[in-house]
C-alpha cells in the first residue's frame, strides 16, 4: 500500500515537472515579450517611447537572459510561492490569484459533488427500471446534455431567468453583497447564486456518468451473484447497494480524475460567460493581454488541481478495490 502510494506520488511529481515546462513554453510562445507589448500600448496612447527605454524594461524584468535561466528563475519562484509580478495588475501574481482561487475551488468541488450525487442516483434508477418512462426521459436529457456546449447552456439559462424570473443570474453575489466582507448572509447569498454555474458546468459530466453507471450496472444485474444475494433474503435496496452498485462504482471512481479535468477545463469559459468573480475571466484576460506570468501561473494551477485530483482518485480506487492492492503487491 505504502509502496504504491510512493510510486503514485513520484508519477504525480514527474507529471508536474513536465507541466511546468509546458507552461513555460506556452508563456514564451507569443511573438514579442512584455516589453514590446508595453511599448505598443504606450505608443497607442500617443506617448513617444524610445528604444533604450524598452531595452531597460526588458533588462529590468530579466527578459534578455537565456531561456533556461528564465525558466529556472521562474521555477525557483514557484517553489517558494512567488509566481512573479502580474505585469497588467502591477501586483504579485500570487496575490491576484489568491483573491479569486477560492471561488474556483468551491465551484469545482460543488460541481463534482453535484455530478456524482445526481449521476449515481439517476444511473441506478435508470438501470433498475430499464426502459421505463424515467429511463427514456433521462436518456434523452443525457444526449442533449452531452451535446450542448457549456457556454450555450449558460446563455440559455441567463436568457430564461431574465425572461421568466426577471433577475440576472450572472455573477455570484447580489449587488448589496458585492463588496461586503464575508458574513453568514453573504455566504447564503453566494450559495443561492452558485447553483447556476454548478448546473452549467456539471451537465455534460452528469450525462456522461449516468450513461456509464447505467451500462455497468445493467451488466452486473444479470450476473449470478445478484440472484444468490436475493435468495438470501436481503431487501432489494440493501442487496443493490451491497453488491452490484459497489462493483459498478469501480469504473466511476477510476474516471474521477478525467471528470475533474473536464470540470477544471470548462470552468474558465463558464466563468467568463456568467461573469463570475473567479479565475476564469482573469485567465482569459491574461491571455488576451499577454500577461505572461499570470497566464503561466493560471495554467500551472489548473494542471496542479487536475494532477492532485487524479492522485486522489487513484488512492480512492486502491481503497475501494482490493484486487488492485493485491495485484500490485505480488
Amino acid at each position: 500500500m505504502v509502496q504504491i502510494l510512493i510510486r503514485r506520488t513520484g508519477y504525480a511529481l514527474a507529471t508536474l515537472f513536465f507541466v511546468s515546462i509546458i507552461c513555460f513554453i506556452i508563456i514564451q510562445l507569443p511573438p514579442g515579450d512584455y516589453a514590446d507589448a508595453y511599448a505598443a500600448k504606450r505608443h497607442a496612447g500617443g506617448e513617444i517611447i524610445r528604444a533604450e527605454e524598452v531595452e531597460a524594461i526588458r533588462h529590468q524584468l530579466g527578459l534578455d537572459r537565456p531561456m533556461y535561466i528564465q525558466y529556472l528563475n521562474w521555477m525557483w519562484g514557484v517553489v517558494r510561492g512567488e509566481l512573479g509580478m502580474s505585469l497588467e495588475y502591477k501586483r504579485p501574481v500570487s496575490e491576484v490569484i489568491a483573491e479569486r482561487l477560492p471561488l474556483t475551488l468551491i465551484l469545482a468541488f460543488s460541481t463534482m459533488v453535484f455530478i456524482y450525487s445526481v449521476a449515481l442516483s439517476i444511473g441506478i434508477l435508470s438501470a433498475v427500471r430499464q426502459y421505463s418512462a424515467a429511463d427514456h426521459f433521462f436518456t434523452v436529457i443525457g444526449y442533449i446534455g452531452l451535446a450542448t456546449p457549456n457556454f450555450l447552456l449558460a446563455l440559455l439559462l441567463m436568457y430564461a431567468s431574465h425572461k421568466w424570473f426577471g433577475q440576472s443570474v450572472g455573477g455570484l453575489f447580489s449587488p448589496q453583497f458585492q463588496d461586503a466582507p464575508w458574513s453568514w448572509a453573504r455566504l447564503m447569498d453566494m450559495l443561492s447564486h452558485l447553483w447556476v454555474p454548478v448546473v452549467v458546468l456539471g451537465t455534460a459530466g452528469t450525462a456522461f456518468q449516468i450513461r456509464t453507471m447505467r451500462a455497468v450496472l445493467l451488466d452486473e444485474l444479470n450476473k449470478m451473484y445478484v440472484i444468490a444475494a436475493r435468495s438470501t433474503g436481503l431487501s432489494e435496496f440493501r442487496m443493490l447497494m451491497k453488491y452490484p452498485v459497489r462493483i459498478a462504482l469501480n469504473p466511476i471512481v477510476s474516471t474521477l480524475g478525467w471528470e475533474l479535468t473536464r470540470v477544471i477545463s470548462g470552468a474558465p469559459i463558464v466563468g467568463v460567460v456568467l461573469s463570475l468573480p473567479d479565475t476564469g475571466p482573469l485567465f482569459l484576460k491574461s491571455l488576451l493581454d499577454q500577461d505572461t506570468y499570470l497566464a503561466g501561473a493560471m495554467i500551472l494551477i489548473y494542471c496542479t488541481l487536475v494532477i492532485a485530483g487524479t492522485f486522489i482518485s487513484d488512492v480512492l480506487l486502491i481503497i475501494l478495490d482490493p484486487r488492485i492492492r493485491y495485484e500490485r503487491l505480488t
Binding site: 510562445l29 456546449p149 477545463s265 469559459i269 487536475v306
Partner: protein, 374 residues
C-alpha cells in the same frame, strides 16, 4: 410438417448470415440502430446545406439590409389580416418607425404590405464552388426582403450566415479529423509496432496530454497565434491545435490493436514474404481494424466542433470576416444582446443538433464495428 417449414426457413436465414461479407453484416447491424440512421440523415442534410450554401441562402454573408438592422425573424404567413388565404406564403412588409420614447428608428411590421415568397429568384451573384457564376437563389421575397432568422446588428441575414457557418464549422471538423487521423496512426503505429522504449515514451506523452485540462491548453495555444495572420492561416492553425489534443484516443486504439495483431500468422507470413514494416502496417494490419478507427474518428468529430465553437465564442478562435457557428455566437455573448435579440442564439441549435447527430452515428457505428460479436 409445419415444424420442418420453420426449420428450413431458419436454416436459410443462418446461411445468409454465414455467407454475408463483413461489410454486409456491419450494414445490417448499423441499420438496426434507428437513431444512428436518423443521425446519418441529419448529417447528410447538413452537408447539403454546406455544399449548396450560396444557392440556398437568399443573401451573401456580408450583404446588409440597411433599414432592417437587429431585425427579428420574419415569420411566413398564409392568411393575411383580411382572412384571405394565399397559396404562396408571404411575409409582411417592414417599415422603419421612430420609437416615441427613445426617438430611435426601429423596424416595425407593416401589415398593409405583403411580400410573397418566390422561388429561384435572381439576387446577388456568386460563384458556386468557385467555378459557376450564378445569381439564382432558392428563394426570396418579391417587392422587399426576407430574413427568416432575423438580422444582426449590421443588418446581415442570419439565415444565410448560418448556412455559410455550417460550411466552415463542418470543414473545421473534417480537416481536424484528417490531422488527427495522421498523427494518431503514425504515433500509434510506431508505438505498437516498434514497442519497447519508444512505446513507453509515446504512452507517457499520451498520458501526459490527457492529464492537461484541454480548454485552457487550447486557449493558451490559440492566444499565441499572431494577430496579423490571415483568416485562412488562423483557420488551419485552429484545426491543428484542436487535433493536437484529440489524436491520443486514436493512437491508443491503433497501438493496442497492433500489439494484439502483430504476432498473428498472416503478419509473420507477410514478413517472411519480404514485406517492409510500413507495407505490413498499411496493407495487412490497418484494414483489419479500420472499422474501429472510423468509430473513433466519428466520436471525436463532435469534440472538434465543440472545441472550435468554444474557442471562437471566446474570441480566440476564428474571427470575422470568417463565419462559423462560434463566430456567430460570439455576438450573443452578453446578456443585453440576448435579451434584445434572442434569435442570435439560433446558430447554437445548429451546434447542438449536429453534435447529437454525430453522437448517435458514433453509437451505431460502435455496435457495427465488430460485426461478428452477438
Amino acid at each position: 410438417m409445419v415444424n420442418t417449414g420453420v426449420k428450413v426457413k431458419r436454416n436459410k436465414h443462418v446461411r445468409r448470415l454465414d455467407i454475408a461479407t463483413a461489410r454486409q453484416l456491419m450494414w445490417w447491424k448499423f441499420k438496426r440502430h434507428r437513431m444512428a440512421l436518423l443521425g446519418i440523415s441529419v448529417i447528410l442534410f447538413f452537408l447539403l446545406l454546406a455544399i449548396f450554401a450560396e444557392f440556398l441562402s437568399p443573401y451573401a454573408p456580408y450583404e446588409r439590409t440597411a433599414i432592417y438592422t437587429s431585425g427579428s425573424p420574419m415569420g411566413l404567413n398564409f392568411i393575411d389580416t383580411d382572412r384571405k388565404l394565399h397559396i404562396c406564403p408571404f411575409v409582411y412588409g417592414r417599415v422603419s418607425k421612430r420609437d416615441p420614447v427613445t426617438l430611435r428608428l426601429k423596424p416595425a411590421i407593416d401589415t398593409s404590405q405583403c411580400w410573397p415568397l418566390r422561388f429561384f429568384v435572381k439576387g446577388s451573384s456568386y460563384k458556386l464552388w468557385g467555378i459557376f457564376k450564378l445569381n439564382i437563389h432558392l428563394f426570396g421575397a418579391k417587392g422587399g426582403f426576407i430574413h427568416i432568422f432575423g438580422t444582426d446588428k449590421l443588418g446581415r441575414d442570419l439565415f444565410s450566415r448560418c448556412l455559410y457557418a455550417t460550411r466552415t464549422s463542418l470543414s473545421v471538423g473534417v480537416i481536424g479529423i484528417i490531422f488527427t487521423f495522421f498523427i494518431g496512426i503514425v504515433m500509434g503505429g510506431i508505438a505498437g509496432y516498434i514497442g519497447g522504449m519508444v512505446d513507453n515514451i509515446i504512452m507517457r506523452i499520451i498520458e501526459f496530454i490527457r492529464s492537461i485540462p484541454t480548454l485552457p491548453l487550447w486557449l493558451s495555444l490559440a492566444a499565441a497565434l499572431p494577430r496579423e495572420w490571415s483568416a485562412l492561416k488562423v483557420y488551419f492553425a485552429i484545426t491543428l491545435i484542436l487535433s493536437l489534443v484529440s489524436w491520443t484516443n486514436l493512437a491508443r486504439r491503433v497501438r493496442s490493436k497492433l500489439l494484439a495483431l502483430r504476432e498473428e500468422d498472416f503478419v509473420i507470413s507477410a514478413r517472411l514474404a519480404g514485406c517492409k514494416t510500413a507495407r505490413i502496417i498499411r496493407r495487412h494490419l490497418l484494414p483489419s481494424f479500420l472499422s474501429y478507427i472510423i468509430v473513433d474518428l466519428t466520436i471525436s468529430f463532435p469534440w472538434m466542433i465543440l472545441g472550435e465553437t468554444s474557442l471562437s465564442f471566446l474570441g480566440l478562435g476564428l474571427r470575422e470576416p470568417a463565419v462559423s457557428w462560434g463566430v456567430l455566437l460570439f455576438s450573443a455573448q452578453n446578456i443585453l444582446s440576448i435579451v434584445h435579440m434572442p434569435w442570435l442564439l439560433i446558430p447554437g441549435i445548429f451546434v447542438i443538433v449536429s453534435v447529437i447527430a454525430f453522437n448517435f452515428v458514433g453509437d451505431g457505428l460502435r455496435d457495427a464495428a465488430d460485426p461478428y460479436s452477438k
